[in-house]
């Protein structure tokens, strides 16, 4: 008799757990819709004809209208902007990785008195909002004729990417066992070769993580780019997009195509490297 009571209790507990689990999943799936639906709406609408969109904005598209994309890419100048963004983000990534990992290697592996202090100095950069250097840099760069040019964007972007790159790479270099370096030194390795043949290959993951982060952040950066660039042929994607999409235009579906063009590259990168990006952003944020 007693055992029966216990069983029904266990049974009750089990069904309660099941109900809770179903509720949790229902909530999570609902949230997935909150996240995906607006993106899908833009994607669907970008395939429609403008007139069709205006009469039935929330229906599924019946056909795929490529013209919107062609217009946004050429007349909307998003094509050239995508190219500019690609150049700026890639160059920034490469320079920041080289310069940053060199400094990180020195801080983590070379021996000098002030290594902790140097690291702290670079970490200041993580606390500074870039807004407060915006116009002092702008006037300086204007006098050097660096505004309205891609190098004029790449240089500040590299500087802003350095603190986080150095922070993460120091962690990776420090985690390499000392014996590996010792062995290489005994074999007659010089310091630059220690860096290129022992340090870099073993910190590959760190490279991936910091590189992706730098790329994503600079691909999306808007404030500096709007202030520094006014020439149409040099605009980066977020700047060109905010100029192309606006209250003046009445052709909605072309603007939607523009938005899709702007987010698709990052969505693809994210789908491939989601785990590394997440790891990097979390690691960077923790110190922030």
């Amino acid at each position: 008799m007693k055992i029966d009571v216990d069983n029904s209790m266990v049974e009750k507990d089990k069904t309660k757990r099941k109900v809770v689990k179903i509720l949790i999943y229902a909530l999570l799936i609902f949230l997935v819709f909150v996240y995906i639906l607006p993106l899908l709406w833009i994607l669907m609408s970008s395939m429609k004809d403008n007139a069709v969109f205006k009469s039935t904005p929330w229906d599924l598209p019946k056909s795929f209208n490529v013209d919107n994309y062609v217009f946004a890419w050429t007349k909307g100048k998003l094509g050239i902007a995508t190219l500019n963004s690609f150049i700026v983000s890639t160059m920034t990534l490469i320079i920041a990785l080289i310069v940053g990992s060199m400094a990180a290697f020195a801080i983590a592996r070379l021996r000098f008195k002030f290594s902790k202090l140097v690291l702290t100095y670079f970490m200041i950069g993580m606390m500074i909002p870039i807004h407060c250097v915006l116009f002092s840099l702008y006037t300086q760069f204007a006098s050097w004729k660096l505004t309205d040019s891609l190098p004029g964007l790449i240089i500040p972007y590299v500087a802003f990417s350095l603190p986080i790159t150095i922070y993460i790479m120091v962690g990776f270099f420090e985690s390499i066992p000392n014996e590996l370096f010792e062995a290489a030194v005994i074999d007659g390795c010089s310091v630059p070769r220690l860096f290129t043949t022992v340090g870099l290959p073993l910190a590959k993951t760190g490279f991936m993580v910091t590189g992706l982060m730098a790329f994503v952040n600079n691909w999306n950066e808007l404030l500096f780019a709007t202030v520094f660039i006014s020439d149409d042929s040099r605009k980066t994607l977020p700047v060109a997009l905010t100029k192309f999409v606006g209250p003046h235009s009445t052709n909605y579906t072309q603007m939607f195509a523009g938005i899709v063009i702007a987010v698709i590259p990052t969505i693809i990168v994210y789908c491939i490297f989601a785990n590394q990006i997440v790891e990097g952003l979390t690691a960077g944020a923790v110190k922030g």
């Binding site: 999943y25 310069v99 905010t242 922030g288």
Partner: protein, 303 residues
Amino acid sequence: MDKLLRKKSYIIMFLAPAFILFTAVLIVPIITAIYYSLCDYKVNTDATFVGFQNYIDLFTKDPDFATGMKNSLFFMVFSCITQLIFGLILAALLTNIKKGRNFFKNVYYLPCVLSSAALGLMWYFVFSPKYGINKIFEGLGWLERADKGTQWLSDTSGFIILPIIVISFVALWQYVGQSMMLYMAQISGISKDIYEAASIDGCSRTQSFFRITLPLIKPMVATAMSLNAIGSLKFFDLIYSMVPESMRGKNGGAHVLATNLYEQGLRYSKYGYACAIGIVLLVMCLLVTFLINKFVKTESYDM
């Protein structure tokens, strides 16, 4: 080995590029920005020292700056509270399920890596009265005509105007994934033994969340909160893309500090004045980080 790694020439060679670049592009401009903020400096005039005049003007004579400050502070408080609550809930839910955890995590995190400008424009259309969600309400019969419904992004009544509230929810939507991720990282670091011991002692799941999980992730709460606070003070992209310029100024009231700075610097070319706004922003960021870490952070436990 030691001798080789102590060679000064190599140390300088490895550090110099980063050090020079960082100093020239970040540290020196901060110092000049502090100096400019004390100057009358416009596009055609050289910088002349005027003391604290810019700051006095900012805090006493500039209604746009007052709106910007009000809205930025609202964003900060709103995002600190909501991100804490929703970030924690999501993290707690996701650590409690097995199937599909990665999928949900990656979906909620997705907007964090997308361009705020593009997402802002997307939401601008979602909230457009004629074709956006009002149209759905019309279809559902809640509204007679879509464009007669709530003017999500152009209603300017109230102390905190509706567009600002709408945008703060969009920001929550975009960035809650980051808080979630930080809390999840911290929760997954808590040893299972503690929970086991608690459940043997008769602790329910809800109890163990409040008694074990919460106290142990407190240091992360401080980190995530200061990140949110700084992020929302620096807020620019969403405002820039979601409210037209005419809405930000005197009649609109949708300014934030960053759009103030942008407008003063780029439109009116008042560089000294814009630098002063930037310095105010910097001081606020440092102050908020300091306060949050002082009041939220407690000693960390060994886990």
